[in-house]
Subunit: 199 residues, 2 copies
DNA sequence: ACCTGAACACCGTTCAAGT
DNA sequence: ACCTGAACACCGTTCAAGT
């Protein structure tokens, strides 16, 4: 048995990614196993290694797709908000909404750390930068004339802050607060940050 | 061979915890394995299960000790700063310093998520609350008369923000910034947050 | 009572062997 | 060329068997 050729390599790759996403969504990142993915798509373990280098590679691609989805989601918000401050606020709320709705896959992005010696592939770095690029641009619109470096730092500080609130709150370990309460925290943080940066 | 009785159960427990901490410090959380710990302390795998329920239990205790260390470190800062705003600022910088100096063990605290069905043990929740308790108190001093709930939310929002900046920055994936630059971000965030909350 | 170490189930990864 | 599935190394966990 072999050489079934029912699916192209590209099709198998897509099937693997979709199966992996479903597993993470439904059972969490730690339930993601090669054998499980293989069974899900009706192939054997070896097939996974035809289309992905290894488990780390597969994980990185799932993370990449989540980043794309997040970037699309945020870009749609940018398109709807002309005024910079309103837009940054809407983006922050949007980030919380996305994190809440796709909790397992969102958390997966930050769960595994890359070993220090090996760099993240460029295609992945590009996806990360896409998330930031929009925010940096907004800070530029908010108060033109700042250096790129300054806007970069501000975008990162703000995203870091919003991200931290989402992370700790959605973890729900520490006195559970509803999503509405979390949003309130996010709003307070963003409003004051903007006011402080450009007063 | 058996019944060596060279060490008491308590001594072995301490040896295990210290060995685990060393491994995490030097090689990262993902290099923490039962067999490695056992070899390090000169016992066999089975012995670990004499003093800890399982790996998850051992990990939780290592995390607990890191939380204690962090709480001690932060409490020393509180003792040195009488003025509330200055104190909150110093605490935030302190958090960054601790995270930077004990990066692997600090990251470990947030790396593994508890399964939804099982609660964190009370002794661990108490350690987490100890970290927050000090900050909540400071917010009360800053502007008395707010409800406990309000101070709780503010403390969490601020810690979330500071934590997020530390996490994303120290991960160093996205345009590396030095620790001094990260501290600048933290300071901006905290200053504006306080100003905004109590203007 | 304390501790060993073989055994088990499960994991990621490889690769000779089939069609 | 495509795919299988047995095999390997390694992991957490258990427990009968030693002293």
């Amino acid at each position: 048995m072999a050489r079934r050729s029912e699916h192209s390599q590209e099709e198998i790759k897509e099937m693997v990614l979709q199966a992996a996403e479903t597993i993470v969504n439904e059972e969490g990142f730690h339930s993601l196993k090669v054998r499980k993915v293989a069974m899900e798509i009706g192939y054997t373990v070896g097939s996974i290694y035809m289309v992905f280098e290894n488990m780390a590679d597969l994980i990185l691609h799932v993370k990449g797709r989540t980043l794309d989805e997040l970037a699309d989601y945020l870009e749609a918000i940018v398109a709807e908000n002309a005024e910079p401050e309103q837009c940054i606020l809407a983006l922050s709320k949007g980030y919380l909404t996305f994190a809440n709705q796709h909790y397992n896959r969102w958390r997966m992005i930050f769960e595994v750390k890359q070993p220090e010696d090996e760099e993240l592939p460029l295609w992945y770095q590009a996806k990360v930068n896409r998330i930031f690029a929009g925010v940096e641009q907004l800070f530029d619109q908010l108060k033109p004339g700042q250096t790129n470096q300054q806007n970069k730092l501000k975008a990162r500080a703000l995203w870091g802050g919003v991200h931290g609130i989402c992370m700790l709150s959605l973890d729900g370990k520490l006195g559970i607060v509803g999503v509405d309460d979390i949003e309130e925290l996010v709003v307070v943080l963003v409003r004051n940050f903007i006011a402080g940066c450009y007063r």
